[in-house]
Amino acid sequence: MDTKKHYAPGSHPDLPPPPGTIGIVGWLYKNLFSSVGNSILSVVTILFLYWLVTASAGWFVLDAVVDASSRKECKATNSGACWAVIFKRIGQFVYGFYPQEERWRPDTAFIFLIVAVAPLLYPNLPFRRQLFWFSAVYPAVAYFLICGGIFGLPEVGTNKFGGFMLTMIVGVTGIGASLPIGIALALGRQSRLLSVRVISIAFIEFMRGVPLITLLFVASTMLNYFLPPGTTFNLLLRVLIMVTFFASAYIAEVIRGGIQAIPKGQYEAAAAMGLNYWQTTMLVTLPQAMKISIPGIVNTFIGLYKDTTLVVVIGLLDPLGIGRAALADAKWNGLSTETYLFVALFFFVSCFAMSRYSLWLEHRLNTEHK
């Protein structure tokens, strides 16, 4: 029986799809219940998630204590997490032992950091050229702001640095300082001069083959021996040096990938124009390689940022160190879960944000370079 409507060829209207294939029902069917196995999996997962949320909501939020002055007091108030330890010491977690009245200085330095880094990370920013000048002077500005000693700013010893401020200092300085060294190493690795190549490869493979913690041990115990007698470097500076060397090896590999991604035609065009090695490198190779490498550099930064937590092992007071100091206090002993979870949450939020940025940038670059 023919109940279908017949349309003249070319005049069939666009009909909506049959119900049950799209919309909520369709989505549910396709994504959750498309087969017996899938349906069971979905149900089990939903039950598991429900259990997870209800079981942890209690400990995390509903039964948690936010204001107390010791663990005993927390336990007496409620049975959940004792977040009071965090709130009581939030200042330390962020600034370490930086004097309270001077805390506007690292705050300002941080804001300046965002301004300084923005033109590098957002290709379409207005006033980009002018901002680059600021990026160039930023290291000096930040140094004076945070360490003080001039312009009437009282000096703050590096042994007072701690908390998230320390994480940022080690991470940003590490990456910033390692960029020129990494570029040099990457170029050195491709060099036609055998000695340069061997030295570059040896350095890169060494830095990538040893665990960071051994380098930090070197910084803390023996770097002094290799310097003229009488010179003393403070611990933070020694750590910054080793972290910079460590990061530069990884940056070198990222930039090497960027250099290799440049089409050969670029070198041929440069040679045809009569540019020599250095001119080609500065004007043609490096600008393109750097642009391609930015996602890789951001990823290396994220890794370094996470690795800064290791400085706790040699006694610097990064957030973990502050946490441990808090735990050592008899009042808060035993609250390791709360303190570590807090630090973990901080890192999760910041690293997740940075990796989303990196994905966005990579996507952006891929769609530009067709």
Partner: protein
């Protein structure tokens, strides 16, 4: 040419300057450089060890104990991380939206938290939330979880165990020969036998039958609570458990992404061509997708294995006695030989890294797709 000479001169010059400073500083401090301290008695105990060791053993032996502990954590960690990572990676590719997203968030949480934090969290959870041995979490009479660690039964071989060992060897031999036979059969007649299923059944049942038939010649040394702690049984210390757990979970997140990216990297058309030929989904995976994905997955996977091994050096943060904690930790502190011990530790890690790199490069070139 001149440039090379300048470079070499500069590098050697800087090294020379560093060394001369070292010599001056050492002279002023009355220190000397030498490795003979390694043969002195160590004077400290190591609480988890795989070989014989007392506090009168030499520093070298302590270092070996540390190295073995590193190897133990690394191997167990790599195995666990790979299993978990591959499972997670496959779940990320499933067409079940819930499973996919739960896996996604689990991976993101694991990846974005620094490894040291994972280690400290797990260690903290075991120490602080696990109950005292007297009130340990028990599974029946043979598994106990407390803040002193995990206690498992220790299997002890008794008389008649030979039959069990024989059966295990026989089972593996069967699997080997049967697989070859099945392949030959398919090659000659086209018939396909359910090889995986038969292998699996034999591997499980043959040893089991032998075990039962010879009167169950394995007794279990069960952990038993005596006083404040458990005695007997196999004891996994909280440090080891925490370290292995943390390393596995952290690395598994990265492995999952590698597996997922590897399978996605295979062009969709490969799957379609295989399906258009009539191959079933399982065969499409095993004959077409996975062999190609393997090539893409292995290099970054090996990188992750290397990272896990290097990350195990964080054991020192929770007191697990790995290579860094023994040689670079207690030995260094006791003998004051910073440079020698660090050189040794770094050298050993370098050897491990370089050998894995070399092996991976060799594997990479041996499976390269043949091109014009």
């Amino acid at each position: 040419m001149l440039l090379q000479v300048i470079v070499i001169a500069a590098v050697f010059g800087s090294f020379g300057w560093l060394i001369s400073n070292l010599v001056t500083n050492f002279a002023a401090l009355n220190k000397n450089f030498g490795f003979d301290f390694l043969f002195q008695p160590a004077g400290y105990d190591i609480n988890q060890r795989l070989i014989e060791y007392t506090n009168r053993s030499t520093h070298i032996r302590a270092a070996v104990v540390g190295l073995l502990n590193t190897a133990l954590v690394a191997i167990v960690g790599i195995v666990l991380a790979t299993i978990l990572g591959v499972i997670l990676g496959i779940i990320r590719l499933s067409n079940n939206w819930l499973a996919r997203n739960v896996a996604y968030w689990y991976i993101e949480f694991s990846r974005n938290v620094p490894i040291l934090l994972h280690i400290l969290l797990w260690h903290g959870i075991i120490i602080n939330t696990m109950p005292h041995p007297k009130k340990a979490i028990a599974v029946g009479d043979f598994l106990f979880l407390s803040n002193r660690g995990l206690y498992l039964p220790q299997p002890i071989a008794e008389v008649g165990i030979a039959a069990l060992y024989l059966a295990i060897v026989a089972a593996f031999a069967f699997v080997f020969f049967f697989s070859r036979y099945a392949k030959k059969l398919q090659s000659e007649t086209g018939r396909q036998l359910p090889v995986s299923m038969i292998n699996f059944i034999v591997l499980i049942s043959l040893p089991l039958l032998a075990f039962l038939a010879s009167g169950s010649p394995v007794s279990l040394d069960l952990p038993a609570l005596k006083g404040f702690n458990f005695r007997g049984g196999m004891h996994l210390m909280p440090e080891f458990v925490a370290l292995t757990f943390a390393l596995s979970i952290y690395t598994a997140a990265f492995i999952a992404e590698i597996v997922r990216a590897g399978i996605l990297a295979i062009h969709k058309g490969q799957k379609e061509a295989a399906e258009a030929l009539g191959l079933r989904p399982k065969r499409v995976m095993s004959l077409v997708i996975l062999p190609q994905a393997r090539r893409v997955i292995i290099p970054p996977l090996t990188s992750q294995y290397l990272n896990l091994t290097k990350n195990s050096s964080l054991a020192i943060a929770i007191g697990y006695m790995d290579l860094v904690a023994t040689l670079g930790g207690i030995t260094l502190n006791q003998t004051g030989r910073e440079i020698e011990t660090m050189l040794l530790v770094m050298g050993i890690y370098l050897i491990i890294s370089l050998s894995i790199s070399v092996a991976m490069n060799w594997y990479n070139s041996s499976v390269k797709l043949v091109d014009r």
